[in-house]
């Protein structure tokens, strides 16, 4: 059986996880109860880690942290900045695709909201999230004032991470729409460290506001305002891609947006890898609850932990 995917947690301090104990490891055949060794190698042997850990498992626990700042952008949208009390933890959050589960103190677990990390300030140990007030969970977050519970870090917030991590001196287009822009900054900052040239396209979408406009300006990157709903921009996008000799694209927004961009890319003469934000319904983040389960290439896969290419997620 060929496993054509990676586990985002393999090799991290959270590996092996509870799934290894129950013979449900996502990548190790022996920790799936099989007789022989056969995995898609990620540079470490999960079974070896499991044996050495001697049954111990490091779980992500909910941590009560103080709210440093709460800023309303409009009546339905606010950013929440919290203070993380540990240097190593704040570094672990400073990754493209990082996310966490937040809920107000004194609320039960089912109030956990998965939120991508919008920005990290390592010197102040600040984490910022953007919250669109829609349902009971986001409303509960909106009323919390001093302290909040956070569980994380989780890292599988986007598909195609390897392209970002290995990119050096390449041309990137980053496209963010609406609340999807919340995952844009860590990606852009990571790409800047790799000396990449970045074109940012921002579409305010239904929020009617570009969440990251100010921060993008601060980084000295020029951005263009865009409307992905208009057919005019479909043509414009193709022009921008071809003119800037794009190597990679990161799309943060809805699945419809990912599909739209994929269609444009299919019409471009050469192959451009597409990196996309992970839009699956995440609930536990640990590969256990099953809310993010999806059928990919004929297999049921937990997309909170499995790292895939965008073509596998979106289909051809």
């Amino acid at each position: 059986m060929a496993f054509n995917y990676y586990c985002i947690d393999a090799g991290s301090q959270y590996c092996p996880c509870y799934l290894a104990k129950t013979d449900n490891c996502l990548i190790c055949s022996i920790l799936q109860g099989k007789e022989y060794c056969d995995c898609k190698w990620q540079g470490i042997c999960v079974y070896q880690e499991y044996i050495w850990a001697n049954g111990k498992i490091e779980e992500r626990k909910s941590l009560c942290v103080t709210i440093a700042e709460k800023k309303y952008i409009n009546d339905r949208l606010f950013t929440l900045t919290i203070e993380i009390p540990s240097d190593s933890l704040i570094r672990a959050y400073n990754q493209p695709g990082a996310f966490a589960f937040l809920r107000p103190a004194n609320f039960l677990e089912y109030y956990d909201v998965p939120l991508c990390v919008m920005d990290v300030d390592e010197s102040k140990k600040h984490l910022t999230f953007a919250i669109n007030i829609i349902g009971p969970k986001s409303k509960a977050l909106a009323i919390s004032e001093n302290a909040i519970l956070i569980r994380g870090p989780y890292w599988n917030g986007l598909f195609g991470l390897k392209h970002i991590k290995s990119s050096y001196n390449k041309n990137w287009i980053v496209i963010g729409r609406g609340i999807g822009q919340a995952s844009l900054l860590p990606v852009v900052k990571n790409l800047l460290r790799g000396n990449n040239r970045i074109t940012v396209l921002l579409d305010p979408g239904n929020l009617k506001v570009n969440l990251v406009e100010k921060e993008i300006n601060k980084l000295g990157i020029e951005f263009q305002v865009f409307d992905l709903n208009s057919s005019f921009h479909k043509i414009r996008l193709k022009e921008i891609i071809e003119k800037s000799e794009t190597d990679f694209i990161y799309s943060c927004g809805s699945d419809a947006q990912h599909k739209f961009i994929q269609n444009v890319l299919n019409k471009v003469g050469y192959k451009i890898p597409l990196v996309i934000s992970n839009n699956y319904q995440l609930c536990c983040g640990e590969g256990i609850c099953g809310s993010c389960e999806s059928m990919i290439d004929g297999e049921l896969i937990h997309l909170c932990k499995i790292q895939l290419g965008s073509e596998q997620v979106l289909g051809g």
Binding site: A2, S29, Y36, C37, D38, C39, W41, G43, Y47, Q48
Partner: protein, 440 residues
């Protein structure tokens, strides 16, 4: 032009590359590490007991160059050690660049750090090999020589854990069974009903860390036998061993060292703190990064069912050699099966009749005999080598064992097979069907 793709650059893969190249094909070796020879990098023993016969047969059959290169780097010739006669010890620290240069010079394309992870297959015909970096290497015929040892999960589950052996899985990634990816179930060797595999039978000490007396004896004679105090004797290790030719009482009672460039210690592992209590070994250390104080690699985890042409059953264009083709032990066995697989792969691609070597030759007999034995009840518990144990006994009984190169050459010539692996098949028209196999 016929494209032959060989997966695995160990001795079997090198043998296959040599024979396929001689037969006129374009040959590519895919090797996961940055060196050829695989376990051969810690081998060193050839021509002991029946291996002498097999090596001379390979030379007479026309594909003996690899043995001749080994002979040319040999540190010691005609060495006797317990249970073994007339061994040649080649220098494992010097052999790899020589083999690499030889294969490159004859035009074999070698792709290093290219780990095969899957196959592209259609109607039981393999079309290409998928590498870990998603590249696809296409070809007409494929020869799998990935061996059967490791990866780490197997060494953990059925042994003492990863001992950082020459396979270097943690650095270059695990071996993948290509035949299994193509849909053919692996055969797995056993030590007992529920324990699979067997442990590699020797480890390596750094020669400079041994006592002067031992070191000079090794340099001079190539072999040192040191009697073990009774409290250090561990007979259990004998039954764990792959190498049944060394699973003799002498190997439990003594420390047996061979000079193969390193000091080859003929036991699967030896706890260092115990070893250092023995005179002459007070400062001993294993060759880095080998954790031979703890364990050794687990082997025979992934053998392919095959016929006597070395073609994998159930697939149209996959051949196998070395440990992949059965519970063979040793580099002579790997090279000999490799050259047959290499030649037959080109025949397959050209739609020519495949060759089965006659049982009057040691190479032909062992290939057929192992296949028969694997089908018996206890077949998966057995290991086979020209160098000892059950198969060497058989060679002696059948009168195949021979130490005169002239007689062996004559034997091959009488069978009409002299230089057969030296023929370029691309230019050869074979009209008479059955011209090889109907005679035997």
């Amino acid at each position: 032009m016929v494209e032959v793709i060989i997966i695995g650059g160990g001795w079997a893969g090198c043998g296959a590359a040599l024979a396929a190249k001689k037969a006129g094909a374009n040959v590519t070796i895919l090797e996961k590490t940055d060196m050829l020879l695989g376990c051969g990098l810690v081998g060193g023993i050839i021509r002991n007991n029946g291996r002498f016969t097999a090596a001379e047969e390979a030379i007479a059959l026309g594909a003996g160059e690899l043995f001749q290169i080994c002979d040319s780097t040999a540190k010691h010739k005609n060495v006797d050690f317990p249970g073994h006669k007339h061994a040649t010890l080649y220098d494992v620290t010097k052999i790899e660049p020589k083999i690499r240069k030889f294969l490159e010079d004859i035009g074999v394309n070698i792709k290093f750090k290219s780990r095969a992870v899957d196959v592209k297959i259609r109607d039981n015909i393999i079309q290409g090999i998928i590498l870990a970096n998603d590249d696809i290497i296409e070809g007409d015929v494929f020869i799998e020589t990935t061996g059967s040892s490791g990866p780490m999960g197997n060494c953990l589950k059925y042994g003492n854990g990863c001992s950082m052996c020459i396979q270097r899985c943690p650095a270059y990634g695990p071996r993948v069974s290509i035949s299994k990816k193509a849909g053919v179930e692996d055969l797995v060797g056993r030590r007992s009903v529920d324990i699979f595999g067997a442990m590699s039978g020797s480890c390596k000490l750094n020669k400079d860390t041994l006592g002067d007396n031992i070191k000079s004896q090794l340099d001079e004679k190539g072999v040192v036998v040191v009697k073990l105090p009774e409290r250090f004797i561990n007979r259990e290790k004998l039954s764990m061993k792959v190498c049944q030719q060394y699973a003799l009482e002498e190997y439990a009672q003594n420390i047996i060292l061979l000079d193969t460039g390193y000091a080859k210690l003929m036991t699967p592992f030896f706890p260092l703190e115990e070893l250092r209590k023995i005179e002459g070994f007070e400062n001993a250390r294993f060759e880095d990064p080998y954790a031979a104080g703890k364990g050794n690699s687990i082997r025979y985890m992934a053998m392919a069912p095959r016929n006597d042409y070395l073609q994998v059953l159930g697939l149209n264009n996959l051949f196998c050699a070395g440990e992949k083709s059965g519970p063979f032990i040793g580099h002579t066995e790997a090279i000999c099966t490799g050259i047959l697989a290499g030649n037959n792969s080109v025949r397959k691609a050209l739609n020519m009749e495949l060759i089965k070597l006659p049982r009057a030759l040691a190479i032909g007999d062992i290939i057929s005999y192992v296949n028969e034995q694997l089908k018996t009840e206890n077949g998966l518990y057995k290991r086979f080598t020209f160098a000892g144990s059950i198969y060497f006994e058989r060679m002696k009984q059948l009168g195949i064992y021979e130490t005169s190169p002239e007689i062996i050459k004559d034997r091959v010539a009488k069978l009409g097979l002299a230089g057969i692996f030296n023929e370029n098949l691309m230019f050869k028209q074979e009209k008479a069907v059955g011209m090889y196999n109907n005679r035997f």
